[in-house]
Symmetry: C2
Subunit: 176 residues, 2 copies
């Protein structure tokens, strides 16, 4: 993993990929699947994410205020679904699904080696946590895996149906 400029983080999340979210509590790491996230600010990068209070990860995120958002490419799709269908209450999902935790620099939750990008985050605003399970996160440190060239992300349409990134097009635009 190589550091990525914080100013480029939005280019990873703005297109809406399914992501994995890691947490750590009492020395034990966990991972969940998340599709409900969006950019909120360019730099420092702020991200909003919804983590249902029914998820085991919710308590860890609520208590520690820390997580890592890891972005998987197409080849991890089957694991992403398995992560989403299992609970850290019952199993160690890293071991069960062959995901490799790597130490993060600024937070306790681990990076995921197999993901092409990893974003170390802390919770900075909890005003919508109670009503909507919505957290505002600041990205403190970002990592990219230069060995994964042009990774194609996956986008969830519900019930295990995903669309994989297709053709890239570039249109003249002054929009950041």
């Amino acid at each position: 993993m190589k550091p990525l400029a914080l100013s480029k983080v939005y280019q990873l999340l703005e297109p809406g990929p399914v992501v994995l979210l890691t947490t750590a509590r009492k020395g034990r790491a966990n991972v969940m699947t998340m599709s409900w996230h969006m950019m909120v600010e360019f730099e420092p990068p702020l991200v909003a994410g919804v983590c249902s209070s029914a998820n085991y990860s919710f308590d860890a995120l609520h208590t520690t205020g820390e997580c890592v958002i890891a972005v998987p490419a197409r080849r991890l799709a089957a694991k992403v679904v398995k992560v989403g269908n299992a609970s850290g209450r019952e199993i160690d999902k890293f071991a069960a699904f062959g995901l490799t935790p790597l130490p993060a620099e600024r937070v306790k939750p681990p990076l995921i080696k197999e993901c092409f990008a990893n974003l170390e985050c802390k919770v900075i605003d909890r005003r919508l946590e109670n009503r909507y399970n919505l957290f505002i996160l600041e990205v403190l440190k970002a990592w990219i895996d230069p060995a994964q060239k042009n990774p194609k992300t996956i986008h969830h349409h519900g019930y295990g149906k995903f669309v994989v990134d297709g053709a890239a097009i570039t249109l003249k635009s002054k929009m950041r």
Copy 2:
């Protein structure tokens, strides 16, 4: 346009397409491009969206508390970029870019005829509006255009670079 069950709205927005957002104020409609949105609840569908206070649309959304989220397919990409690079302060973007406003049922802002889905929304939570320009919207009514089969959406990676939906895959999952 045909009504769409509110329970299916998340399948449109969860994959992270670029959308158009219409507003109406003092009898005049406007439209902007938005990529910073996410689902917050399945049903009734709640959506979070960020509309910069630098945008002309912000005042209309703030004042009226109403908008329509319209989802464009690939063939509208060039218009989507033009909408994003122009301001309703200066021009009528519907006329300038050949987008057809249609009356909505529950709100004053118009649907967009050329988009394959349209979601009539009202603002229901403004607690994060001041700090992050973040609105929580409830979808009151949803429309789908049955004439557009399997529309491919576009996902923004910054500076006019988009990725178009590619192959669809289905994996066994109990995740909604």
